[in-house]
């Protein structure tokens, strides 16, 4: 190897160097900047006295690091520590070498210093410079504490007090946040999520300016700040880039993850961890598919019978307090909770108590056999569209959803996979499609009532026969949007967009995370295999097709779908992460490139961040590939 001499580095270091996003920072500049300042803790000259060059390595309980990573030709190359004059951890090399290591990649100009300084979580302080409301100020304060807690978690990786002394004292970091815009801290359809972050040295401390037009934007800025802070295991300290500017805004306003808690139950703690991981990736919509025909775990205050009859058991229930906890937790993380009670199909035993309560049949075909005649998977069940009590019940449900989640500009009605045979069996006087259309109209009507007499700006339906011609024409694109789950190549998946319906993309062929695990009812390969790799998730850009129409498609964004027929709490993290992180960058940055080498490396770093946050994300590859970046590419 050819190491740069210390003098060269020092000379080069006289100039401050930044790089724009999309271009790789030059390795020499990194070395240079690191050397130019006493604060550059990561390099030091080989001493003649060997013992002076043997610092404590807190992560290693007395064992010295074996490897040093140096940025050579824009890559972190691994060397035996004894062969190099400098000792640098992989984490620090990654952060200072060519790649930005931010995830999702910011969309505006980015400049990042190539030197780092030590910091400590308790040396960060917050000053809210401008805020349009007390509510926003309160949220900024709480989001700041969340960020600080994550830093503290990282610090817990450092054992004992043997933090290296020669890296200098930790800097004070003053985080100044200005929000000029909406006084509403909620994630709304019209929320401006853009932010600017400027981090610079100021005397002996650092100052961070985060400016945004909403709380959610400011929060994203804090998330980015967290990403330029990392634990250096060799230094036994947190490090932060010495300077950075990031200008950033998402490409799509709706960036979601669906979790189905009905096929199998997931405790609240699992949901919270998932939401925190979403925040780490700047996703903004937790689509909670709370109920289905298999179970109804949510105990509503206004209709407790649903969970009483529909939950798997007393240990598999979400209370209203649980929902509030989840909503509050998500709110501070810039995430809306979109609760979906799927109707008129995908219901079950939860609606079986109508006759005994004197309300008649609220649903038909509950657990009807043979199931394949009346639904897509067992058990069957479909609401009774002719029973007026069902609409009263739905109004209660919708009202409680809106009250608890405080999401009133967007709503999900469900509406997928209605079985015409089921209704045809009970109503031979009417075309089931007309019943379905009428049900949807009435559901919309009670939704308006539940929402204070006003329709939400965007009411989503799953794509279905109802969203195909000739029925699509009977839906009003000003009121309804469509979550398109059909395969990207299906004509009806495009037709919805061509017809101008605001859409959330969840194409089964790219963004269904449950696919590829065989069938749960027989030994076939399953209905939607194979597995969608993270690369496939990442590279899916249906709006970038060649057709002239696609340029005008009203795509709101997308969501990955984690259906849970074959997933329980134990497997959740590894199934969802890091693949949903890949989706997050697609929807935030929508870079034209596919899964290039830089994407592998940044995603690998992001996976490590998730693991540090307590998320059991699956590894991308053997750790060897992380240790030898580019060797596996």
């Amino acid at each position: 190897m050819k190491m740069m001499s210390w003098g060269d580095a020092l000379w080069l270091g006289l100039t401050a160097r930044f790089a724009r996003v999309g271009r790789l920072r030059r390795a020499v500049l990194m070395l240079a900047a690191a050397a130019c300042t006493a604060a550059a803790v990561l390099y030091w000259k080989q001493q003649t006295d060997d013992s002076a060059n043997r610092p404590l390595h807190s992560m290693y309980s007395g064992i010295e690091p074996q490897w040093s990573w140096l940025c050579q030709h824009d890559r972190c190359e691994r060397y035996q520590a004894s062969d190099t004059t400098t000792l640098q951890s992989l984490q620090t090399c990654n952060m200072l070498c060519a790649s930005t290591q931010l995830w999702p990649q910011p969309t505006g100009p980015v400049s990042l210093a190539s030197a780092a300084v030590p910091v400590r979580s308790d040396r960060f302080s917050l000053k809210v410079i401008a805020s349009p409301s007390r509510d926003v100020t309160k949220h900024i304060n709480e989001a700041f504490i969340v960020m600080q807690n994550h830093m503290r978690t990282l610090e817990h990786g450092v054992v004992g007090e043997n933090r290296r002394s020669d890296i200098g004292p930790p800097r004070d970091v003053l985080v100044k946040v200005s929000v000029n815009g909406s006084g509403d801290p909620r994630m709304r359809l019209d929320t401006n999520e853009s932010y600017k972050l400027a981090l610079r040295p100021s005397g002996n401390s650092l100052v961070v300016d985060i400016t945004a037009h909403s709380f959610c934007g400011a929060r994203h800025g804090l998330e980015t700040l967290l990403q330029v802070t990392w634990l250096d295991p060799y230094a036994g300290s947190l490090l932060i880039l010495e300077a950075a500017t990031v200008v950033d805004a998402p490409r799509f306003p709706y960036r979601g993850l669906l979790l189905d808690t009905a096929r199998n139950f997931f405790p609240v703690s699992e949901l919270l961890r998932t939401i925190d991981a979403m925040a780490a990736n700047k996703l903004n919509t937790f689509h909670w598919h709370v109920s289905d025909s298999q179970s109804f775990p949510w105990k509503l205050d206004s209709a407790p019978q649903l969970a009483q009859h529909g939950a798997y058991g007393p240990g598999a229930v979400y209370t209203s307090d649980d929902v509030r906890t989840i909503v509050k937790y998500a709110r501070i993380r810039g995430i809306r909770v979109l609760m979906e009670i799927d109707t008129p199909a995908h219901v079950g035993r939860a609606f079986g108590w109508g006759p005994e309560a004197g309300l008649g049949h609220l649903a038909h075909c509950i657990e009807a056999e043979p199931w394949s005649s009346y639904c897509g998977e067992p058990p069957c069940g479909q609401l009774n569209p002719r029973n007026p009590h069902i609409y009263d019940l739905l109004e209660h449900v919708y009202r409680e959803i809106i009250q608890l989640t405080e999401v009133d500009d967007i709503f999900h009605l469900g509406g997928d996979e209605v079985s015409e045979q089921c209704w045809a069996k009970h109503f031979n006087d009417t075309d089931p499609m007309d019943l379905w259309m009428e049900f949807t109209r009435q559901a919309m009507h009670v939704l308006e009532r539940a929402n204070g007499g006003k329709a939400p700006e965007l009411t989503l339906l799953w794509s279905s026969r109802l969203t195909r011609s000739p029925y699509l024409e009977r839906l009003d694109p000003k009121r309804f949007g469509v979550q398109v789950w059909g395969a990207s190549q299906w004509p009806e998946s495009r037709a919805v967009l061509d017809a101008g319906f605001r859409s959330v993309i969840s194409h089964v062929d790219a963004w269904y995370l449950d696919c590829g695990f065989g069938s749960w009812r027989d030994s076939s390969d399953g209905h939607c295999g194979p597995y969608r790799s993270w690369q496939q998730v990442y590279e899916h850009r249906p709006w970038a097709t060649e057709t002239p129409e696609s340029a005008a498609w009203p795509v709101e964004g997308g969501a990955a779908c984690q259906w849970t027929e074959q997933l329980g709490p134990g497997g959740l993290d590894a199934r969802v992460w890091p693949r949903t992180a890949a989706l997050a960058e697609r929807l935030w940055a929508d870079r034209a490139e596919g899964a290039t080498a830089d994407v592998y490396l940044r995603l690998d770093t992001q996976r490590a961040r998730l693991v540090a946050r307590g998320v059991r994300a699956a590894p991308l590859w053997p750790r060897w590939c992380s240790h030898n970046p580019h060797a596996c590419l």
């Binding site: 199931w371 065989g518 749960w520 790799s533 993270w534 590894a574 699956a618 991308l620 596996c632």
Partner: protein
């Protein structure tokens, strides 16, 4: 059907007319056994029938109750469930010998299993009959693993309805008695309607495994696993009577094994100084395995699949060679240089320390897969060696070179272990049945088959008298079905293998008349895309499906096992294993309604 009628009636007597108060009876649902399946029905207030919890119902609604793997000789589950107090379980070891400490450990584990049969969020009442378990070990001096060890046992539970339940387990070795305790723990179910533990009474079970080798391979080189996660895996193995943890400890990507004589191998080869296994760590795992009837089998894969760690030895060729596709199947490449005399001293040192660490193993796995001629051929030194030996540089000569390596390595292994223990090799060009006998003696080597179950090599090798362990990748490679980590698309052995296929993978069908030469099988978790975060979900509950195939070699298909399988998954979760979910919980609660 009359038997079931009686069963329901008697269950009614024992728990329905028993102590429960009205408040406890207030469950919205109950289960009833109809047509061999448990049906979930409303528990109407005017109901006069016995109120059965799901687990109690399942225990009587299947010939094998909730047992997994199912016993092979005789299974006779009585018609009574008795409420027991888990605080008054007494275990008596009636015959003394040098395996007593193991039995004591197994007894402790049994008590832990009983307490973990209570689902999370529930707590069992400390009321009910006391239980005395008598353990009769007819050969209390045996504590060594071997391919012909006797794992059979008999289990009896008394039929009297006094205030005490007696259980007796009799076996020909610690290993058998221990299995009996696992079975006994599966005869205890939780009644979540009344919050009681119940045990089946009047039981006779006679049981022994069909195959002596029932393993799981874990690759700790592509990604590192903590000792704790390995122990957790062994716990789950013991619960389904698997008996071999095959530790693929090193590979080209990393060398986490700490050796006192050759410290540089892990110093340079481990991912970090903390991601290592010391002799102490391994002995801890070995002891943990022994108490659970699980042998910990070491593999040192050679001459290919080496790399990291060997940097400074000068004993490898083509390490990190590029483009890697030319010299190996995944990066980084690396192969030992068989022409170096010093190599064999290295190997001997490795083997010696492995023999010391893996104290209880009765076999040794020497790897031997995926050797690349091209890699060896890229070395001038090797070419010269071959020319000196008057070999060509063709395929058959490289086999001779490989054989030269294997013979030398074999001698060192025997020396290191101090005995001519059975050696295992992966199928490869060396083990091709058309010439295998030229290189490997069938009495010395066991072949582990990783090609497909339809590979003619299987019959070929069997006809030549070789003993086989089946790990055919099309059913037993649990890393399959995920995205490719190099290149595009999904990984090479996709799709994912569902538990149904695992269950159906019968060595007997592959072996036909040579069934006696099949020692058993092994599932493999290669870890390119797995680490402790994914471990449990990748292995479980699929490895349980494999366990029943290995233990019982059932003539029936997965459909007959489905509901016991769903329950074993629940059991694993209660033990703290993050097993994947196979179906919506609805299917677990509504037996027979989730058909294809």
């Amino acid at each position: 059907m009359w038997l079931q009628a009686i069963c329901i009636y008697t269950v009614f007597i024992i728990i329905g007319c028993g102590i429960p108060t009205a408040a406890e009876e207030h469950s919205l649902w109950r289960w009833t056994c109809e047509n061999n399946r448990c049906t979930k029905i409303r528990n109407e207030p005017e109901n006069k029938e016995p109120v059965l919890s799901l687990e109690a119902c399942k225990m009587f609604c299947d010939d094998y109750g909730l047992l997994w793997p199912k016993p092979t000789i005789e299974t006779n589950l009585g018609n009574f469930l008795s409420k027991i107090n888990m605080n008054t379980i007494d275990i008596q070891i009636t015959k003394q010998g040098k395996s007593d400490d193991l039995l004591t450990a197994a007894a402790d584990r049994f008590k832990t299993l009983v307490s973990s049969s209570v689902p999370k969020g529930f707590s069992a009442k400390a009321a009910g009959k006391s239980v005395t378990v008598y353990l009769v070990n007819d050969n209390p001096y045996i504590r060594e693993f071997s391919l012909d060890m006797d794992e059979s046992y008999e289990l009896y539970i008394s039929s009297t309805s006094s205030d005490k339940v007696n259980a007796t387990i009799r076996g020909n070795s610690f290993f058998g008695v221990r299995h009996g305790l696992e079975t006994l723990s599966q005869l205890i179910v939780y009644d979540d309607i009344r919050n009681n533990l119940l045990i089946v009474r009047d039981v006779t079970i006679k049981d022994r495994p069909v195959y002596p080798y029932r393993g799981i391979l874990l690759d700790t080189a592509r990604n590192f696993y903590s000792i704790e996660s390995i122990k957790r895996t062994i716990d789950a193995m013991a619960a389904v009577k698997l008996n071999t943890f095959h530790w693929h400890i090193t590979d080209s990507q990393s060398f986490p094994l700490v050796l006192q004589k050759r410290p540089n191998l892990s110093k340079l080869g481990a991912y970090s100084p903390t991601k290592v296994y010391t002799k102490q760590d391994i002995r801890e795992v070995v002891a943990y395995g022994l108490e659970r009837g699980v042998r910990v089998l070491p593999e040192f894969d050679a001459p290919a699949h080496v790399g990291e760690g060997w940097q400074d030895t000068g004993l490898t060729v083509c390490f990190k060679a590029e483009p890697w596709t030319k010299f190996c199947v995944e990066p980084p490449c690396g192969q030992l240089n068989p022409t170096k005399e010093e190599l064999y001293d290295y190997l001997e040192d490795i083997y010696v320390e492995m023999a010391e660490a893996f104290e209880s193993t009765d076999m040794f796995h020497m790897g031997g897969d995926e050797v690349s001629e091209r890699c060896w051929n890229s070395s001038e030194e090797i070419q010269n060696f071959m020319i000196q030996n008057r070999w060509n540089l063709d395929k058959s000569s490289f086999l001779k070179l490989w054989n030269y390596f294997q013979k030398n390595a074999q001698d060192r292994a025997y020396k290191a272990f101090g005995k001519r223990l059975p050696l295992i090799l992966w199928t490869s060009t060396l083990t091709d049945y058309t010439h295998v006998e030229k290189f490997l003696d069938k009495d010395e080597y066991i072949i582990q088959v990783w090609t497909t179950g339809a590979d003619p090599q299987i019959q070929g090798l069997l006809q030549k008298g070789y003993r086989l362990i089946m790990s055919n990748y099309d059913a037993l490679y649990f890393d399959c079905g995920f995205g490719a980590w190099v290149g595009s698309g999904n990984n090479w052995c996709s799709p994912y293998i569902g538990w149904q296929k695992v269950y159906g993978n019968s060595p007997a069908v592959m072996a036909l008349s040579y069934r006696d030469q099949i020692l058993g099988g092994e599932v493999a978790l290669w870890s390119e895309q797995s680490d402790p975060a994914t471990l449990d979900g990748r292995l479980w509950p699929r490895a349980a499906a494999f366990a029943e195939r290995m233990w019982a070699e059932p003539s029936t298909a997965w459909q007959d096992a489905e509901h016991r399988m769903l329950h074993v998954r629940e059991r694993l979760v209660r033990m703290g294993i993050q097993a994947e979910s196979l179906e919506p919980e609805w299917c677990y609660q509504n037996q027979g309604l989730c058909y294809g």
